[in-house]
């Protein structure tokens, strides 16, 4: 009987931890099938210069899909007359962030070069939309 109780105690504590593990996995916090956890897939944009909103020094962490633009529907709203309503988007795929222009009027520049198709962002890259300049932090 005492042994059965010991088993029950172990089962209770174990089941509680098992649930926590499964919930964390369902929330996408645990690696599945040997893939690297998305620790590397963390990215941040820091504002280096801009005409007002967002203001200098502000940081935005990037989600799976981040749309930048003047429209209030954007994930990062930029109040800059040279920025289009939906200007560019940054997408997370395979632990890397890719940026692409969404057909903006004035173009999107990475390290001074105008984007023609998507490219991956590397730590320290300079991202320009209109008069607003972001720095990508890996």
């Amino acid at each position: 009987m005492a042994f059965m109780w010991l088993l029950a105690r172990v089962a209770l504590a174990g089941l509680m931890c098992l649930f926590l593990y499964r919930a964390a996995r369902a929330a996408g916090l645990v690696a599945e099938r040997g893939r690297l956890p998305r620790g590397r897939g963390r990215g941040e944009l820091e504002v280096e210069a801009g005409p007002g909103v967002p203001s200098r020094g502000e940081r935005f962490s990037l989600g799976p899909v981040t749309v930048l633009g003047r429209s209030p529907e954007s994930d990062i709203v930029i109040l800059d007359p040279y920025v289009s309503a939906k200007h560019a988007e940054i997408v997370l795929a395979d632990s890397r962030f890719f940026v692409r222009d969404l057909g903006s009027a004035n173009g999107t520049y990475v390290n001074g070069r105008r984007l023609s198709r998507e490219r991956s962002l590397r730590k320290g890259d300079r991202l320009e939309l209109g008069d607003t300049v972001f720095r990508f932090r890996g």
Binding site: L12, A13, L18, R100
Partner: protein, 444 residues
């Protein structure tokens, strides 16, 4: 990037219906209730069976009603709440079977409220229109306890309504977060703009510091007239966290925390019962026979539990005063061990993570702030009481959300999580609409 990559990135983070996750969530609670019933020695006509059936019935019914969890907003949040409720109910059952049968009723009401909020709220923006009414109701509720309140445990926060006693400050908390979300949505652009710097720290314009001071004043009024330190910390703390979410400025939070510390220091100087909490926190062992008895007993209980605990029914959590309510975490540690305690803390951490995830996804500011606010409220409350029970922070009498015994607190927590789930569901519905056929006019 193709559409497929976007969709894949999205679907990775939103788990679809998962029956086994909910089953894993219900199992620990059910096993705990079973063990408590076995340990109590009387198996026939034990209230344990009723509690066990009621608990699993309530959550399974809700799961089935929402298309096996598909339409509940976020099945992970729902399972986390089910897990916490089950573990709490098992411990309450072990401490007092009578309380546990009443707690099943509270759970049923709470789950019904959450379901109603998720299923029948027309749109959260309707709620936004009533933000001032929410603030007014909240203030009236708080004022009612100041005038008609009954004192319990040093705090005057109960209303005696004959057969039931309710704690209006629980409902007031949730309503106040609704108001904060509406208010901060209106002012967030202004709050982000500021020009002046002091010692390299961006300062807000003075005119926007007004509301901050007002909330600080409200917290102090609570503290002075109700002597409810816990509620004051939660009201002001949730406001500060939401202010940070809305403005992205740490300076507001630091300034606000300094104000709270100043207010707390003044109060501990003025009120002996607040001062006692601080002194006991510094060294509970000096007062283990008097004011520190509760804290010391709770630390003994946590230590007695060891790694896997003694099992529900085999410990001595009865000796801790207020074990089913504020000190339920110590009882859980004693009977379910360090691992069980970690699982409970981890469940709150995940709950906060999921809530903030939905807040960060939300395209509507009010929805984002509401989700962030409700999440902060629950997370902050859990931190305050777990820290208090372990002696890490001064003890303030608040309940452990979803776990502690208490009708008002249970129903308020379910209302808060119902709004988070509603925000998640609206976000998903908009996402689906977009995928079906371009952007539909969702931004009104």
């Amino acid at each position: 990037m193709t559409r497929d990559t976007r969709d894949a990135a999205w679907s990775r983070r939103v788990p679809s219906s998962d029956d086994t996750l909910l089953a894993t969530a219900l199992l620990p609670g059910m096993l705990g209730m079973l063990m408590a019933t076995l340990a109590s020695g009387k198996l026939e006509r034990s209230p344990g069976w009723l509690v066990l059936a009621g608990f699993s019935g309530v959550f399974l019914a809700c799961h089935v009603l929402f298309g096996r969890g598909r339409r509940v907003g976020d099945p992970v949040i729902f399972s986390l709440v089910a897990f916490l409720s089950g573990v709490g109910l098992a411990e309450v059952l072990r401490l007092d079977p009578g309380l546990a049968t009443r707690q099943v009723g509270h759970l049923a009401m709470g789950v019904a409220l959450t379901s109603a909020l998720v299923a029948f709220t027309p749109d959260l923006r309707v709620l936004e229109r009533y933000r001032f009414m929410a603030a007014a109701t909240s203030c009236v509720l708080l004022a009612s306890t100041i005038i008609f309140g009954v004192e319990a445990g040093g705090a005057k926060s109960w209303l005696d309504l004959g057969p039931v006693a309710v704690q209006p400050s629980e409902a007031a908390k949730v309503l106040m977060v609704v108001f904060y979300a509406g208010y901060l949505k209106d002012t967030r652009v202004l709050l982000r703009r500021s020009s002046r710097r002091l010692l390299g720290v961006l300062l807000p314009d003075l005119s926007y510091a007004g509301p901050l001071t007002l909330m600080w004043g409200l917290a102090l009024v609570l503290l002075v007239f109700q002597r409810d330190l816990g509620a004051a910390v939660l009201f002001f703390g949730a406001f500060l966290l939401m202010l940070y979410v809305a403005s992205g400025r740490a300076s507001y939070v630091l300034g606000g925390a300094a104000l709270l510390a100043a207010g707390g220091a003044a109060c501990s100087w003025l009120f002996p019962h607040v001062r006692a909490r601080f002194i006991v926190w510094l060294n509970p062992w000096r007062f283990m026979d008097s004011a520190g008895y509760q804290t010391v007993q709770s630390m003994f209980a946590v230590a007695a539990g060891g790694l896997i605990g003694l099992g529900p029914g085999r410990g001595m959590p009865h000796v801790i005063p207020a074990a089913p309510t504020d000190f339920v975490f110590a009882a859980i540690c004693e009977e379910m061990g360090l691992l069980g305690g970690f699982a409970v803390i981890g469940a709150y951490a995940l709950l906060v993570h999921r809530g903030l995830f939905w807040a960060s996804r939300a395209r509507d500011d009010f929805r984002a702030l509401l989700a962030a606010g409700m999440t902060s409220l629950i997370g902050l409350q859990a931190l305050t009481i777990v820290g208090g029970v372990l002696g890490l922070v001064p003890l303030t009498g608040v309940t452990l959300p979803f776990v502690s015994y208490g009708g008002s607190s249970m129903i308020a927590s379910f209302a808060a999580i119902g709004l988070v789930l509603r925000a998640a569901r609206e976000e998903q519905e908009e996402q689906e609409q977009e995928q079906e056929g371009g952007r539909v006019g969702v931004e009104g």
